[in-house]
Structure formats: structure tokens, C-alpha cells
Amino acid sequence: MPSSLFTQFKSEDSIKKKLNLLFRNRIFRRFFIQFVFGIFLLLLFFYIVDKALNLELGFGHLSSRAGFGLSHTFIIDYNSNDSRWMGYFAGVINTIRVSLVGIVLATILGIFMGLARLSPNFLINKISTGYVEFIRNTPLLVQIIFWQLILLQLPHISKALTFGGLSVFSNKGILLPIISSNENGSLWTLILFLGLIISLILRSRLFKYKEEHVDLFSPNLISFFTFVVIAIISFFALSIKLSPSVPEVNINQYGTYIQSGGFILTPQFAAVLFALVLYTGTFITEIVRGSIQSLPKGQTEAAMALGLNSYQRITLIILPQALRSIIPPLTNQYLNLTKNSSLSVAIAYPDLFMVSRTIMNNAGHALPMFVLILITYLTLSLVISLIMNIINLRVTRIGA
């Protein structure tokens, strides 16, 4: 505020005149209002904190024995003798699992369907339009239960469909052959994943270095080599043994059919996955379509004039430019998919929300549990947003 604000007063002015002059000044008014509002916010904040401290937010009950079993446990070996924290963690892993696979599949489906909507081929165009309009306009919960009922129509395991003895289809799940390893398999997969990220980062750094300095090496080769080295070293360090695993169905002494071996796609996981992928795929389809349509038509025409075929045109010219406007709404859809996975409680897929409700029913303390659920979803969403923001920065770089 200018000092003239206060020096303009003459000593014989009344208080009322002084205030009048002060408030006539726009800068002073703004400052005053913001100051008052700031004090109000501060008081509100302290009030809320004081109330919050009175609530019992203890998590001690989560350390006691869980007592309930879970139908899906992945990576960690959970049984009912573990603590409730482990049960919750198993639920989180289930959520991450369905969300991650769902995100990947939904993106692929969305890109294909988005391109299909712009196809001059009448049949493909209409199929894509029908898919979007139908799936988008029905509630997700209904779709999840629908898929569960569809998968119930598969034959009973005693009459399961086998395909050449390699896979088994029944209403207890779909079993497929897979390469399996001994106990450190998931750790090795994690290391491979990290190695992939490291080599990709290395590759981009090397490309930048190559631009600015020497043009002697191939960044692709070096980063690929790094990845292979990491994979091989960890393979031997963890003493992994790989072997093919073929699914089989046996009958135990009591007449119960036991499935073993292979990779099992349980009906619950499959139903949630199909519903989420199809539903989110429609939104991604529309996003892709909108982004491509927003590109100037000149790009397509120039590509055709250069003699590029349609595959080259899409992958080299159209999609890279469309990515700029695809990424932000795509982030939204990924977050939606992750949060929508909480609907799986309806069909017995134990995601984190379902496990939390079980714990709440057994132990009470609903408020701390919900705070924990919120924090977990917040963390998952922030991680996804962070990764997408990094990708966004890369594609929106001018001249990228």
C-alpha cells in the first residue's frame, strides 16, 4: 500500500473522515477483506483441529488377529492368523492388481475403439459407436453383477471345457498355462519391472546426451543391454528356476474338485476386470476420438500427400500429436477406474474396501477405518497422477 494512504490525513479530520478516505482506496479494501477472511479461516482451522483431536482415531485394533479368510491373496501369504493390518494389505494388493491390469487393458481398448469410431469402414464405425453408447449409459455396479452372472453360466467344474488339455474353463475360474517360478518369482518380477523403468530412463538420458555431444553409440542398444544384465544378475542372485505350469483338475478323496497349477483367472476377478475395462474403455474411446478430431485436418492431408500408409499416418503423425490433449482426461479415467474398483464388494472380490468393511463389522471403530481407506485411495490416486503428470510434461514439451 502506498504511504500516501496514511499521509493524506490532516490532523483535524474526524475518525469517520479518516476511515472514509481509507476505505476509498481499492488496495486497502482488498487487503482489509483478505485479512479478515484470513483470520476467519485460521479460527475455523483451529476449531476443526480441536474437534478432530477429541475423536478417537486409534488403529490399535488393527494389530489383533484377523480371524477371517480371504479368497484372493496375491504376493503375500495371508491366512486368518495374521493381523488385520495384513488382511487390509492383502485387500490393497487386490485393488492395485485389478486397477493396474484394468488401466492397461482399458487404454488399449480405448485407443482401438477411438480409432474405430473415426474409421471410414461403416461396420467398424457402428460397432464402436454401439459399444460406447450402450456400455457408457448403464451403471457400473449393474455391469459388474451382470458379468458375474455370465461367468456363472460356464459349466460346472465336473464338466469343464478343456482345450487340448492346456486350459480349463469352468464357473470356478479360467485356468491358463503359464511359466511359473519358485518362491522368489514375484520379487524377480518386481526387479524386472524396476529394471525396465531404469533402462527406459537411461535410454532417454542417453538420447539427450547423444544430441548434445557425441554421435557414436546407440542408446537403444545400451539400455536394452542394461535391462538384460539386470534381469540375468537378479535371476541368478535369487536363484530362480522357471518351469512351465499346466493347469490340472483333480478330485480329492472326498469328491471335491481341486484346481491346481497354471494361472487362474477367478470369476470374481474376471467379472470386476471385464466390467471396469469395458466401462472405462468407453470414456477413453471418446477422449481419443475427441483429441484426434481436434487436430487440424491438414495433418492428415499432409501425411497422405507424403505417401504414408494409414498405419504410419496414425502412429507417426496423428497419435503423437493427439497425446497432448489425451493425457489429462486420461488421468481422470485412470483415477475413476481405481476408485470404481471398490464396487467389487458386491461379488465377493476382496478389494480393500470389502476387507475394511469386514474389519469394521468385527471390531467397530468405523471412523479410523474410513480415514485409512481415504488415505489409501488418496495415495493410490496421487501415485497415478504423478506418473501421468510426468508423461504429460514429456508430451507437451514444445517441439516434442
Partner: protein, 359 residues
């Protein structure tokens, strides 16, 4: 101009200030330590909010005309008759197993009568108070008759369907994991997808209270084999005493609910039914009966136990709903749950239905 706008803004903030400050002082914390008198609230409101089941034949179902009926529903009606004099003044709130305690704790319902098992953690940890059980049940396992299972041990490796948020889920795990029998639980939130999975034989076993199994078995669709296709294993996995519950620190309502239930049990023991209650009230056979029905014996004084409701509340209850035996016969005998030789017979017949003295 700007002065008025400024004054308007400042006065808005000061009003908000004052509201915030006032509410900080005047709210009693609403924690579970404060006691509340739901009985008075019910009397003021004029209806009883009862949390019930709408999906369990015999205990709580919705009839085709939209009304609720069942064993538990009749106790809701009895409490309404006792407090408000009219058994139809009930607002039924159907609740799932996983949502029922939240609904009671938050005040959405006044009393929960929804085939709920009395356990230590539910009594203390979840902040409820259980009255004496109205039905002594046990957990059972239902399987297909042609599966050949005859015991829990034979179900090694099987998949079992169970409802989420129930003691059944925990007891199932105790029984299987405790004996080292591998199994896979399929935990559903409601009974409809559970029944669909069971009908498709996605799970080999269905576990819940034996009374629930009886009702589900009786209603099993003929297309999937009807009741004859199913058999309930003989073993009882756990004790399941079912009864009404109220919130902690709600003694007035708790006592009313408790003694309405006891009154119905005592009435059966004393031979008072809905058809003879009026003549019994006009001419009670002994002082005990007089005290139960809230009348004086041979012209003597009426004893008021101080429940906060009219002393002749049991007359309304018995006339409009009936005694314990009538309620049981009306709803549970059609399911095949006989009382003779079971825990639900009167104590005089060797069961556990026993009312403390109305004195």
C-alpha cells in the same frame, strides 16, 4: 456503494464467527459416554424405528403387499404396542448384515431386531447392549445332497459361500483353519448373488445360522432341485444366540425391550394368549398374572415397575401380537424349526426360554 458492500461482507463473517464459536461451546460431545433417552424420543415421535431383515424367510421378509412380517418383525410390533399402544406404528428399515451396526449406532434406527448374534465384541467394542436372546441358534453348513459330504472334514478343499460382516464368517474360519482343513471363502455382501453362486455350484457349501439355512432351503427354487436337493450337515459350528439390541447407555429403551420380550415368554408360561388376554386381565388367576398384565389383583393396587410406559403395556402386546409361543408358531414352525427338544422350548420343557419374575 462500496461501503455497504464492505459492511455486508464484514457482517457475514461476524455471523459465521458467532455461529462457530457458539457451536463449539454448546455441543456435548456426542461421544458414547453421553447417555440418551431414546424412549422419550420414540414417544415424542410417535413411531418406532426398527432395523430389520427383509430377506430372511420366517424372520423378516416383505410380503407381496409391501408389509413386513416375520419372527423378528413381531417383536418390533410388540415393542411399539408396549410404548405407543399400537403395533402398527413402526417404521421398518431393512439393513444388510454389514450395515446394521452403523445404522443402530448412528441413530438411524432405535432398536435392531435382525437375527443378530450376541457376542462379546459386539457388546462392548461396537457399543451395543443385547437383551436376552429370543432365539437360540447355531451355525450350520448346507451342501448338495448328491455331493456326498457328511462332515466338515470331508469338505477339505471346498469353496464355501458366506455373508460378509457376520459371526459366521469368523466361525467358519475358526472351524476350518483351526482343524487345518483348507478351504476358500467366497464372501458376499447380500444373499442374492450368494444364492446365484450356490445354485451354479460355484461354491460347494453355504454356511449361516441353521434357522437361516432352513428358511433358504425351504425357498430353494425347484429349477435347481428344490429343498430335497439340499441337506444341512448335522454338525453345529457355533452358538448363535439371536436377539434384539439397543445402543449402549440407552437404559430406558433397553429395559422396555428386555421386559417386553420377557413378558411374552412369561405369558406363554402362564397360559395367556392373544385370545384370552382380555378375560385374564379382567379376572387374573393369581397376583403374578395381575402384575404381568398391569392390573390389580382382586381390587388391589396396580404395580407400576417404572418403565416409563403405561403399566398395562403387556395387555397391548399380547392382544395385538401374542405370546412367545404364538409368535414362534406363526413364523418358525412352517420352516420346520420345531421347539420340542430344542433350546427354544420353555424352561419347564427343558429349553432356555426363561423369564425372570415380574415382581
Amino acid at each position: 456503494m462500496f461501503k455497504f458492500r464492505l459492511i455486508g461482507i464484514i457482517s457475514l463473517f461476524s455471523v459465521l464467527f458467532v455461529l462457530a464459536a457458539c457451536s463449539e461451546e454448546s455441543t456435548s460431545s456426542g461421544s458414547s459416554d453421553a447417555s440418551s433417552n431414546t424412549l422419550e424420543v420414540i414417544k415424542d415421535r410417535g413411531t418406532l424405528n426398527c432395523g430389520v431383515n427383509d430377506n430372511l424367510t420366517g424372520f423378516g421378509v416383505v410380503a407381496p403387499d409391501g408389509s413386513f412380517e416375520g419372527f423378528d418383525i413381531d417383536f418390533c410390533k410388540a415393542i411399539a404396542a408396549a410404548i405407543l399402544g399400537d403395533s402398527s406404528k413402526v417404521e421398518y428399515t431393512p439393513l444388510t448384515a454389514s450395515a446394521r451396526f452403523e445404522a443402530l449406532g448412528s441413530g438411524e434406527v432405535d432398536v435392531l431386531i435382525r437375527n443378530t448374534t450376541w457376542t462379546a465384541s459386539r457388546d462392548r467394542d461396537l457399543g451395543n447392549d443385547f437383551t436376552a436372546p429370543t432365539f437360540y441358534d447355531g451355525q450350520g453348513m448346507m451342501v448338495y445332497a448328491d455331493s456326498g459330504y457328511d462332515s466338515i472334514e470331508s469338505m477339505s478343499g471346498a469353496t464355501v459361500c458366506v455373508l460378509q460382516g457376520t459371526t459366521t464368517e469368523l466361525n467358519l474360519d475358526d472351524r476350518f483353519t483351526g482343524s487345518g482343513i483348507p478351504y476358500t471363502p467366497l464372501t458376499f455382501e447380500t444373499n442374492d448373488p450368494l444364492q446365484a453362486a450356490f445354485e451354479a455350484k460355484q461354491c460347494e457349501g453355504w454356511t449361516t445360522d441353521k434357522s437361516g439355512l432352513a428358511s433358504k432351503r425351504a425357498g430353494f427354487p425347484a429349477a435347481s432341485g428344490g429343498p430335497e436337493a439340499l441337506v444341512v450337515l448335522a454338525e453345529t459350528l457355533s452358538k448363535e444366540p439371536l436377539g434384539p439390541l439397543t445402543r449402549d447407555n440407552d437404559s430406558e429403551l433397553y429395559d422396555v425391550v428386555q421386559w417386553v420380550v420377557f413378558g411374552m415368554m412369561q405369558a406363554e408360561e402362564s397360559g395367556i394368549t392373544s385370545s384370552n388376554v382380555s378375560s385374564m386381565a379382567a379376572n387374573p388367576a393369581d397376583p403374578g398374572m395381575a402384575r404381568l398384565l398391569g392390573v390389580g389383583f382382586e381390587g388391589g393396587e396396580v404395580q407400576d415397575f417404572g418403565f416409563g410406559i403405561s403399566p398395562d403395556f403387556m395387555q397391548n402386546v399380547l392382544y395385538q401380537v401374542g405370546n412367545y409361543g404364538e409368535v414362534y408358531d406363526r413364523h418358525l414352525v412352517p420352516l420346520g424349526l420345531t421347539r420340542e427338544g430344542s433350546l427354544n422350548a420353555q424352561w419347564t420343557d427343558g429349553g432356555l426360554i426363561y423369564a425372570p419374575p415380574f415382581r
